[in-house]
Structure formats: C-alpha cells, structure tokens
C-alpha cells in the first residue's frame, strides 16, 4: 500500500488553537494566535479570539451543589446539563452514580472533616459522564470530574472496562484531586505526584468505607472494584492492602505497584510513575488504619486529611509525608499516643523511618512544574 500522502489542507481547528493560546509555551502561543488571526481573516470570522485567555470560573456557593453533564460521547466539556442538585434520578446509571458518589464524597469531607467542598468554600461539584467513545479513564481537569464509559463501543464479549462511575472510590479519588489542588498543591511528578495520587486513593477508599459502613478490617481496600468486566483476571485497579496484586491478566498485564521502598520504580513514563509508586504511601495508610482498627476515616483518615490540608507542600516527598503525618498524629492525639505509634509503624512497613522533626521546606530550584503539562522532568533527587 502506498505511503504517500495527499497534499491535503490541514488546518488546525480553532478549538485546538485556543487551547494552545491558553496553555502553550510562549512560542506556541504566538504561532497559535497568528494562525487564528489568519484563519479568521480567511473565514471572515471574529469569534475565535473572543474572550481569550480568561477561563470561566465555576460558580461558588455555600453548600452542597452538584451538576452532572453529559458529553454524549464527544470531547467537549462540560457538555449538556442533565441533573442538578436536588433533581430526581435520571435512570442513566452513569449520571446517577456521578451524582450520588460526589454527594457521598462531599458528605465525608463536610461531616467528618468539616470541609465545605473541594476548595473549603462550597465550590460547585461539576461532573461530566459519557466522555468520548471507548474511553477507559476518569480524570480531574483542574475544574471538574470527567468519566468515560470504558469499552462501551466494543462487543460485550471483548470489553475489559465498565463505566468509570461504577466504583464510588473512583469518584472520591477524582474529587480529592481537587482538594489537593487547593491545599498541598502537590506537583504531578515523581514522589510528590505519587503522594498526590495516594491521597486520592486514601480518601476514595474512605468514601467507599463510610458509604458501606465498614470498619478497617471489613473493607477490601481495593480501588476500582467492579471496573473490570468478567473477562479480566483482577479484583480492581489497585490494592492498598497488598499493592501489586490487584490484577494479573493476559491482555492488561500485571499490577506494577510496589508495596515497599526497596521496590520503588524509577520510570520516565506516567510522570515518573505516579500511578505506580503510590502503592508505597497507600500501604502505609492501610497499615496505620489496620493497627488503629475501627472506622478508618475517624483517626487515620483525620491524620492524613489534616496533613494534606496543613502540612504538605508542593514538593513534599514520601519522607516528608511520613514525618508530617507523624507530627500531625502527635498534635491530634498526643505525643507518644497509640495513634502516633501506628503512623510510625505504618511507614516502617513500607521501609520509611519517621524522623523526629520534619525537614524545612526546600525552596524550589530550576523550573517549577506546576501541573500535568510538565514536559521536562525536574532533576531527580535521590
């Protein structure tokens, strides 16, 4: 077959140019603005540059306020509004799961930790479901939660993933990315990125536990249970109890997570393995919660929440998390308390020894990666 290309007229679509104007490097911005102007003159249009680069801010009000949108299998966010706060169920499982799951997550933060929504100030919880076709993912885009339907476009026998709202801990996970964005602002790279991910798993799991009324030893500590179809050999995406054992499948491969620092994976992909090395802090939380017993959100969860809110900073690593959670446990429950000992033991189980005093925060050096958009890794610090 020929590998020649027709001299087709490739015009980068305006929506993408706008993205580049908003988010690209200075050189990319210049290029995109020039291209937009040219294409506007070409088409006699004026709207493409209107309103740039100010992004719309989500509405802030003072209580639980959810809105669910339907992307109708496209990529445009947020999509068409299909359910607002107080409205009855729609009968569409993805819509109603996103509504209910973000409600339980809001309630955990409000009722247990006294936090009013993602920003602590009643930020509206926006979720979009039915995002793209065959989209096996859920994400937080800095402003809202987004859920795909897995492999809905394949024949049932070929599907690996169900819809991503099916597991309530995924909803808690995505919403917690928002909380982290407003609090510790952990950068999405290497250990700070894996901590960012782990915080999302911790509170995602607690959302599931509080919904089911489970104590620590009743919980399965699986993240994303129900997401795989019966075709996949796996319980879920991650196990906080035994990282690295959640799935082992001929098509999807094996769960790559370490449960101990000696197995830490230095990888270049996945922003330095943020979805891999989170197994380490996940297991530290699990171990702490199991030692304390009872309802994990009451003590272990509180220690982790206060640490996320008040102590961790954008470049905090696992050692800093260990030291800060230990310090927080001392402040909340007393120096030398059982709670503080449980935190020390939790980190010891993953090969991290709590230091007496947290290290002073290092000033950032070099380029400061602020988000997902980082294109070059910071120097790796061992």
């Amino acid at each position: 077959m020929s590998t020649d290309f027709h001299p087709i007229q490739c015009i980068v679509p305006p929506h993408m140019l706008r993205e580049i104007v908003e988010r690209g490097s200075p050189a990319q911005r210049d290029w995109a603005i020039r291209t937009l102007r040219i294409s506007e003159q070409f088409r006699g249009q004026r709207q493409a540059l209107t309103g740039l680069p100010v992004a719309a801010a989500p509405t802030v009000i003072g209580a639980k306020h959810r809105i669910i949108y339907n992307a109708e299998f496209g990529s445009t966010l947020p999509g068409k509004q299909v359910r607002a706060e107080g409205e009855p169920p729609t009968g569409d499982p993805a819509v109603d799961e996103a509504y209910d799951g973000s409600g339980v997550t809001y309630d955990l933060y409000q009722d247990v930790y006294g936090r009013n929504s993602i920003d602590g100030n009643g930020l509206r919880l926006d979720s979009t479901v039915h995002y793209q076709k065959g989209y096996d993912n859920a994400f937080w885009n800095g402003q809202q939660m987004v859920y795909g339907d897995g492999d809905e476009d394949l024949p049932p026998a070929d599907r690996l993933f169900n819809r991503f709202t099916i597991a309530i801990d995924i909803i808690g996970h995505e919403l917690t990315h928002g909380v982290t964005q407003y609090e510790a602002k952990l950068i999405y790279w290497d250990q700070p990125g894996a901590l960012n991910e782990s915080m999302s798993d911790v509170f995602g799991s607690l959302v599931k536990q509080i919904k089911l009324g489970q104590s620590a030893n009743e919980a399965d500590w699986i993240i994303g249970q129900g997401l795989f179809t019966a075709r996949v050999n796996g319980q879920g995406i991650r196990s906080m109890k035994a990282p690295g054992t959640a799935y082992d499948d001929p098509v999807l491969g094996k769960d790559p997570q370490p449960a101990h620092m000696k197995d830490y994976k230095n990888v270049s992909y996945d922003n330095g393995g943020v979805h891999i090395n989170l197994g380490i802090p996940n297991h530290a939380f699990y171990t702490t919660a199991m030692e304390l017993g009872g309802r994990a959100w009451e003590k272990a969860g509180r220690i982790w929440y206060v640490t996320l809110r008040d102590k961790l900073q954008d470049r905090s690593d696992f050692q800093a998390a260990a030291n800060f959670t230990h310090q927080t446990a001392g402040e909340l429950f007393g120096a030398g308390s059982l709670e503080q000992q449980a935190v020390r033991n939790g980190w010891a189980a993953v090969g991290i020894t709590v230091d007496g005093a947290p290290p002073p925060t290092q000033p950032p050096k070099g380029c400061v990666p602020t988000a997902l958009g980082l294109t070059r890794p910071p120097e790796r610090v061992k």
């Binding site: 290309f5 027709h6 999302s200 943020v274 891999i276």
Partner: protein, 99 residues
C-alpha cells in the same frame, strides 16, 4: 508507514506501548490507519501539545509516525490533544491490546 505509540498515565496507570508497520497489517487495517493519520493532520501538529492546567489522571500520549519520507513525533496530554487526533489514539490503543 510505521507508527510507534505509547499511552501512559490515566486513573488505572496502565502503560500501553506498541509499534506497528502498516505493511504487516491487512489492507483494510492499513488503509484505516492511513486515513486516521491524515484526518488528524498529524504532520502539521506541534511536537508538544500539553495543557498547563492542573489536573490528575489524564493520559499522556507519545506518537511517532514515519511515512512518505517524513518522520514526526507528537507528545500530547489527553485534554490538550485535538479532537481530530482522538480516533487515531483510540485505534492505536486497541491495536496494542489486540496483539
């Protein structure tokens, strides 16, 4: 036409990597890939298409296409990737899983 494809990140963190040579595919599959590359205007895309907005769990793609004497690599974040590129990304993910 040769395509090297990698998808990393995402909530599940499952890395998908695959290299495909259209000469080794059926005529239909090869034609489909050519059409998708063309529809994406792949050779006119910037080398890096990233969003600087904060976020979490978004896919990261890296894609190199060699065709007609040209080679081009694009690294794209999920939310920043143009809609015209999405069908190619999905097709390549599926190809990688169907080996």
């Amino acid at each position: 036409m040769k395509i090297s494809f990698e998808r990393a990140g995402g909530f599940a963190g499952m890395r998908v990597a695959h290299t495909v040579d259209t000469d080794s595919l059926s005529a239909d599959d090869a034609r489909e890939l050519h059409q998708l590359v063309e529809a994406a205007c792949f050779f006119d895309l910037p080398a890096v298409i990233q969003s600087s907005a904060p976020g979490g769990d978004q896919f990261q793609y890296k894609l190199t296409v060699e065709a007609g004497g040209r080679t081009h690599t694009v690294e794209a974040g999920d939310a920043a990737a143009p809609e015209t590129l999405q069908p190619l990304l999905l097709r390549l993910t599926r190809l990688a899983r169907s080996r």
